[in-house]
C-alpha cells in the first residue's frame, strides 16, 4: 500500500506544490491504523462479555450451565428485537421512543380483536389465527404513522415518538381498562413458548432476524443506504437514494419488529399485562449505544447492537442469581452501562457521539 503512495507523488506536476504535498497524504496514512482498529469497534464489548462470563461462573455454579444461558437468551430475545429495530432507526439518523409502547399495545389490541367480550375482547368474532398478523400490522401502522409525521411535517423524531410513546400506551391502558389479558389464542402464544430443535423458538427467530439485519446492512444497497442517510442525508439524496422512502420503510420495519417482540414476550409470559414493555426503551437505548450505535446516526452495526443486548442480559442474570433485591437492580444496571460505555470508549479510541 505505502509504495503505491510513494509512486504516485511524482505524477503531481509543479515542484513547489509537490514539496508541500508531503503534508497532504499524511492524514490518510495516520488514519490507517485507526481504521484497522475501528473495524473491530463493534466487537469492543466482547471483552466485557468474556469478563461477565468469568465473573458469573465464579459467582454461581449454575451460571455457565446450558440451561441458564438458554434462559438468558430467551429472556432477552424480545428486548433484542426492539434493540434491532432501534439500531436500524438510529443508524438511519432518526429516533423511535414509541417502540416500547408497541410491545404492549400491539399484542393487546390484536388479541382483543379476536377474543370474545367475556374474555375482555371486542367480540368481533374474527378468526383467532389472525391475531399474529393483526399484531404485526398494528406495529407496522404505528411505525408508518411515526414516519409520516416526521417526514411529512418535518418534525423532530424525538418529540413525535415521545408523544407517540404516551399515546400508544394510553390506548393500551384505555382499551384494556388497565387489566391484563389471559384468554389468548394458542396460535398467538406459540412463537413465544414453542421449542424448536431443543432451543426456544424465540431464540431462533431473533437469531435469524439479526442475521438478516447484519446481511442487509453489510451487503445490500438498501441496507447501506441507511448509513448514507444517517451520515449525511443531503449527500444520500444527491447520490440518488430515495431518503424519505427508506426512512419510512425503516420506521415500518421498526414498528413491526417491536410488535413481533410483543408476541414473543406474550408467549413467554402467557399473558399481556397493562405494563408490558413499559420502561424497555431505556434498556434498548443502553444496549444499542454501548453496542456502538451512534445517537447521531450513520454509525454502528447490528452485530454491535447484539453484543450490547448480551451484556445487559448477562448482567441481569448475574444480578438475579446473586439475589440482588429488585430495588437495587436499577442502580447496578445504570452503573454497569456507564462502565461499559467507558470501556468501549477506551477500546474504540474515539469520542462517543
Amino acid at each position: 500500500m505505502s509504495d503505491r503512495q510513494g509512486r504516485r507523488a511524482p505524477t503531481l506536476p509543479k515542484t513547489p506544490a509537490a514539496s508541500a504535498n508531503g503534508s497532504g497524504p499524511a492524514p490518510a496514512l495516520a488514519a490507517r491504523p485507526g481504521f484497522r482498529l475501528s473495524r473491530f469497534r463493534d466487537l469492543t464489548l466482547v471483552p466485557v462479555i468474556v469478563v461477565l462470563l468469568i465473573v458469573g461462573s465464579f459467582i454461581d455454579p449454575v451460571f455457565l450451565t446450558p440451561g441458564n444461558l438458554t434462559n438468558v437468551l430467551q429472556q432477552q430475545s424480545a428486548l433484542a428485537l426492539v434493540v434491532l429495530a432501534e439500531a436500524l432507526i438510529l443508524i438511519a439518523g432518526k429516533f423511535d421512543l414509541s417502540l416500547e409502547s408497541i410491545v404492549g399495545m400491539a399484542p393487546a389490541v390484536a388479541v382483543m380483536l379476536v377474543i370474545s367480550t367475556g374474555d375482555g375482547g371486542f367480540g368481533l368474532g374474527l378468526p383467532p389465527a389472525m391475531a399474529v398478523v393483526l399484531c404485526l400490522l398494528i406495529g407496522a401502522l404505528i411505525g408508518a404513522f411515526n414516519g409520516f409525521l416526521i417526514l411529512r411535517y418535518q418534525l423532530s423524531a424525538f418529540v413525535v415518538t415521545l408523544a407517540m410513546l404516551i399515546v400508544v400506551h394510553g390506548l393500551h391502558l384505555g382499551l384494556t381498562g388497565g387489566k391484563s389479558l389471559f384468554a389468548l389464542p394458542e396460535s398467538f402464544t406459540y412463537l413465544g413458548s414453542a421449542v424448536w430443535l431443543g432451543l426456544p423458538a424465540a431464540i431462533w427467530i431473533t437469531g435469524v432476524l439479526f442475521a438478516v439485519g447484519m446481511a442487509a446492512l453489510g451487503y445490500f444497497r438498501s441496507g447501506r443506504s441507511l448509513y448514507a442517510i444517517g451520515g449525511n442525508a443531503d449527500a444520500a439524496r444527491a447520490a440518488g437514494i430515495r431518503v424519505e422512502r427508506v426512512v419510512l420503510a425503516v420506521f415500518v420495519i421498526g414498528g413491526t419488529l417491536a410488535a413481533l417482540a410483543g408476541i414473543l414476550e406474550t408467549g413467554r409470559l402467557g399473558g399481556i399485562s397493562a405494563n408490558q414493555g413499559v420502561g424497555w426503551i431505556f434498556m434498548v437505548f443502553a444496549a444499542a449505544v454501548i453496542g456502538g450505535v451512534s445517537m447521531d446516526g450513520g454509525k454502528g452495526t447490528i452485530l454491535g447492537a447484539l453484543t450490547g443486548v448480551l451484556v445487559i442480559g448477562l448482567v441481569e442474570n448475574i444480578l438475579t442469581l446473586q439475589g440482588v433485591p429488585g430495588e437495587w437492580k436499577q442502580l447496578v444496571y445504570g452503573g454497569i452501562i456507564l462502565v461499559a460505555l467507558m470501556i468501549s470508549r477506551l477500546a474504540g479510541g474515539r469520542a462517543q457521539d
Binding site: 447501506r224 448514507a228 451520515g231 449525511n232
Partner: protein
C-alpha cells in the same frame, strides 16, 4: 444549431426561476464550449447557486431550456441520465464521514448485482482513484480526510459517472494557497483530457489563472460573457457590482513610531505548529501573517487569542499576560478576534444579530448577570450601521444572513468592546467583493482608532492593508516584509523559495 459535434457542451437559455416572490434567475443563461473552463462569477445572491441546481437537474426552471452537447436535457426524474451528462462538486461536502472512501465513491451503486462484494468494490475504488491520480487510501474512513483530499474524492466520484462536464462550486473556498495550486494543476490536467468545467469562485484572480472565459451574473440576470483576456479585473468587478469599483485601495495610514507595543509575543512554541515565534505589534499597526496552510500562521493567531495553548513562550497584551489557552482572559486583556471558521467558532446561527454581536460584552449590558435587551439592541444597531450589515434588524437570526453579512456580524463581535488588540483570521473567506472591502475597511478603522491588529490571510489582496507582513514557513517567521511588496516576492517567500 442541433446535434453537431462542435455544439456547445452546455447551453442554458432564457432561464427564469422564481421562489415565491423572489426571482432567483431572470431570463439568464450561459453557453460553455466543449473543453473550456468557464468561470461563473457574481456576488452572493446573483443566482449562481440556482443556476447550478438547474444545470444539475435538481430544480426545474420556470422558463427556458438546458441543452447538453446540443441535445435537450433529460427529464428531471432520470437521475442517471443527468449524472452521465453533468457532475457537480458542491460547495457543501457530500461525503459521508462514517463510511470508507471506497463506499463514498460508489454510494448507492456499491454493486451491479444484489449482494455487495466489498473486495470488488475496493478494487474498483482503487482503480478509479488511480485513474485520476488521487492519492487516498480507499479503505480509510472518509471522515479522516482533509478538505483537499475530500474534494479530490468528490471530483473523482463526480467524473466516475461518465460525465464530461463538471461544475466546481467554490472549490477553493476552504483550501489554502498550495492546495489551490494543486487543484488548479488538476483542473488543467482534466481540461487537457477534454473535460469541460464550470468554475465558481469569489476570488477573481483565480478566474484569470484557470479559466478561459467568464460569465458574470448580477441580480438574477446575465450581465456579460467574455474570454478572460477581454475582461480585465476592473471591468469584471464593475460587471459584478454594477458600478465602477476598483480593487480595494488600502487607506493611507502611518504608524506612529513612538506608539506603544500592544501585542508582544516572545519565544512562543507549539509542537507541530510553530517554533520560537517573536512578534510585536504597536498601537495603530496592522501586521499581516502570510504562509501556506502548514506554515503555522493560523495556529499562532489562535494562540494569541487563547483558542489554543502554546507549549512555551510568553504572550503580553496591553501589558497584561492572559492565561494561556484561555479565551475569557484574552478578552479581558483587550483582545477582539475573528476566528478562522465563522460557522464553527464565529457565531451561533439561531441567535440574533444583536446577541451574537454583543456576546463578549454581555456583562456590560446590565447588572448582576442580567442583560438589558434594550441596551443590547441599541448597541447592536450601532454596530449594524458601522459595519453596514444587511439585516432586517438586531433581532434577525444570523443563520439567515448571507456569508458576507454573517462575517460582518463576527467582525462586529470582535470590535464591540473596542479592542486594544484585534486578531483577524481569513476574514474574507467566501464573501463577495463588496463585503470584503467593508470588512478590510473595518480592520483599518480599528487600527486608526489605535488598535494593534494582526491579520492572517491566504489572500494577497487582504494583506495589502498591512503595514508589514510576516511570512511564515514551516512554523517559523522567515521574513518581515514592509508595505509595498509585490505579489511575486510574497508568494516566493511563502513557498519557501527565496528562503536562503
Amino acid at each position: 444549431m442541433s446535434t453537431s459535434s462542435n455544439a456547445a457542451a452546455v447551453e442554458a437559455r432564457g432561464i427564469t426561476k422564481r421562489f415565491g416572490p423572489t426571482v432567483a434567475l431572470n431570463d439568464a443563461g450561459l453557453t460553455i464550449k466543449q473543453g473550456e473552463t468557464h468561470a461563473l462569477i457574481g456576488r452572493n445572491g446573483a443566482g449562481k447557486s440556482t443556476l447550478v441546481s438547474i444545470l444539475t437537474g435538481l430544480q426545474r426552471p420556470d422558463a427556458g431550456e438546458v441543452r447538453f452537447a446540443g441535445e435537450p436535457a433529460p427529464p428531471l426524474a432520470d437521475r442517471d441520465a443527468w449524472k452521465a451528462r453533468v457532475a457537480c462538486v458542491y460547495q457543501k461536502s457530500t461525503i459521508i464521514p462514517a463510511l470508507t472512501v471506497a463506499e463514498n465513491l460508489f454510494i448507492n451503486r456499491q454493486t451491479e448485482g444484489r449482494v455487495i462484494n466489498w473486495r470488488a468494490m475496493r478494487a474498483r475504488a482503487t482503480a478509479l482513484l488511480d485513474q485520476y491520480h488521487v492519492d487516498v487510501d480507499p479503505s480509510g474512513l472518509a471522515g479522516d480526510l482533509g478538505v483537499e483530499q475530500r474534494q479530490l474524492v468528490e471530483i473523482a466520484r463526480a467524473l466516475s459517472f461518465g460525465a464530461r462536464f463538471i461544475i466546481l462550486d467554490e472549490p477553493t473556498a476552504q483550501l489554502d494557497g498550495p492546495a489551490i495550486g494543486r487543484l488548479f494543476d488538476r483542473m488543467r490536467d482534466l481540461r487537457e483530457q477534454g473535460v469541460t468545467m464550470m468554475f465558481i469562485s469569489h476570488h477573481l484572480e483565480e478566474v484569470y489563472e484557470v479559466c478561459q472565459s467568464v460569465t458574470v451574473f448580477r441580480d438574477a440576470r446575465h450581465i456579460v460573457t467574455s474570454t478572460v483576456a477581454d475582461l480585465p479585473h476592473d471591468a469584471l468587478v464593475a460587471a459584478m457590482t454594477g458600478e465602477h469599483a476598483v480593487t480595494y485601495e488600502a487607506k493611507a495610514r502611518t504608524v506612529d513610531e513612538k506608539a506603544g507595543v500592544v501585542i508582544e509575543v516572545r519565544g512562543l512554541n507549539s509542537a507541530g505548529r510553530y517554533h520560537d515565534v517573536d512578534l510585536t505589534v504597536k498601537a495603530g499597526e496592522i501586521v499581516g501573517l502570510a504562509g501556506s496552510g502548514s506554515s503555522g500562521k493560523v495556529g499562532l493567531a489562535e494562540s494569541i487569542v487563547g483558542l489554543r495553548r502554546a507549549d512555551s513562550g510568553v504572550i503580553t497584551i496591553n501589558g497584561k499576560r492572559p492565561k494561556p489557552g484561555d479565551v475569557p482572559s484574552a478578552l479581558a486583556a483587550g483582545v477582539g478576534f475573528v476566528p478562522q471558521d465563522r460557522h464553527h467558532e464565529g457565531f451561533v446561527p439561531l441567535l440574533s444579530v444583536g446577541e451574537n454581536a454583543t456576546m463578549p460584552i454581555a456583562g456590560k449590558l446590565g447588572r448582576f448577570g442580567m442583560i438589558s435587551p434594550e441596551r443590547r439592541r441599541a448597541r447592536a444597531r450601532t454596530m449594524i450601521q458601522e459595519l453596514d450589515i444587511k439585516t432586517e434588524g438586531p433581532d434577525q437570526p444570523v443563520g439567515d444572513l448571507s456569508g458576507g453579512n454573517a462575517q460582518k456580524v463576527v467582525m462586529a463581535r470582535a470590535l464591540v468592546d473596542d479592542p486594544a488588540a484585534l486578531v483577524v483570521i481569513n476574514p474574507t473567506a467566501g464573501v463577495d467583493v463588496k463585503a470584503k472591502q467593508s470588512l478590510l475597511g473595518s480592520v483599518e478603522d480599528a487600527a486608526q482608532r489605535g488598535a494593534a491588529a494582526v491579520l492572517v490571510s491566504d489572500e494577497l489582496d487582504d494583506l495589502r492593508i498591512c503595514d508589514r507582513v510576516l511570512v511564515m514557513f514551516h512554523g517559523r517567521v522567515i521574513k518581515d516584509v514592509p508595505r509595498g511588496w509585490s505579489d511575486n516576492d510574497l508568494v516566493a517567500a511563502m513557498e519557501g523559495v527565496s528562503h536562503e
